[in-house]
């Protein structure tokens, strides 16, 4: 499998940045950091071949505000439902046919949905994403479609 040097370099830079965050840029740690980042890049190439660009991390800042907003409203929503005496939940299942391919893109969508208000992914069945909803009355499908677009921008199919 031909590895793209550019993608390997990007991954190396990402791991090196992780090292700098962990060590607060300590100078005597740099040789160890370089070796660690090289080893991590090799491992990541073994596990996820660096033949195409899978993550477009430069798009992360663009979707961050909505993610934070979703986290906030998801937490508030579930806290309100849990604490109210009548506990207004209507749990149920929704199947969603996603255009995203299996593997990282679909798993990323499932993970994202599991942190957003009202939805929880439970893998796929016959290619459909199985979603557990805390309130089946809400318009789940259209909000899932919005999330799908955001993930599509971040994770290359």
């Amino acid at each position: 499998m031909p590895a793209s040097p550019l993608i390997l370099a990007k991954r190396f830079a990402l791991f090196a940045a992780l090292w700098l965050v962990l060590t607060a840029g300590a100078l005597d740690g740099l040789p160890f950091g370089a070796a660690a980042a090289a080893a991590a890049t090799w491992t990541s190439h073994r596990l996820l071949p660096a033949d195409r660009d899978r993550l477009r991390l430069h798009r992360l800042p663009a979707i961050l505000p909505r993610f934070l907003w979703g986290s906030l409203s998801g937490g508030l929503d579930v806290a309100a439902r849990a604490l109210r005496p009548r506990m207004p939940i209507r749990p149920g299942w929704v199947r969603y046919r996603s255009a995203l391919p299996a593997g990282l893109p679909l798993v990323a969508l499932g993970g994202e949905l599991s942190l957003m208000p009202g939805t929880l992914a439970a893998g796929t069945r016959e290619g459909d994403l199985l979603l557990h909803c805390l309130d089946v009355g809400a318009d789940v499908v259209s909000s899932v479609a919005v999330e799908e677009q955001r993930i599509r921008g971040l994770v290359a199919p």
Binding site: A24, G74, V78, I89, P91, G111, L115, L120, A122, H132
Partner: protein, 94 residues
């Protein structure tokens, strides 16, 4: 002084969401609804605690490290929630 007050406020709010998530975990009727309570409320709770702790951090590196802790926990929560939801489904939970 103001930073200290905001820290107390943020961490207090974070703890509130941890408690709310635990209440949901106890009250909700089935495995999958309980997973909702744990993922959403704890995600927000930890985020608020991290924010509160970041205000006390001596330098930017510590803030970044705290954010890293939050991100890794989120990734773990998002993955484990899916795995548990799947395994409960296959075990025949409604």
């Amino acid at each position: 002084m103001i930073a200290d007050a905001v820290t107390v406020l943020l961490i207090g709010a974070g703890l509130f969401f941890f408690v709310a998530g635990t209440v949901g975990f106890v009250r909700f009727p089935d495995v999958h609804s309980r997973l909702h309570a744990l993922t959403k409320a704890d995600n927000l709770g930890l985020g608020l605690v991290v924010l509160g702790a970041a205000l006390q951090a001596p330098d930017a590196a510590t803030v970044l490290k705290l954010v890293l802790v939050w991100l890794l926990t989120l990734a773990a929560a998002a993955t484990v929630a899916q795995l548990l939801a799947r395994s409960a489904l296959e075990d025949g939970a409604p």
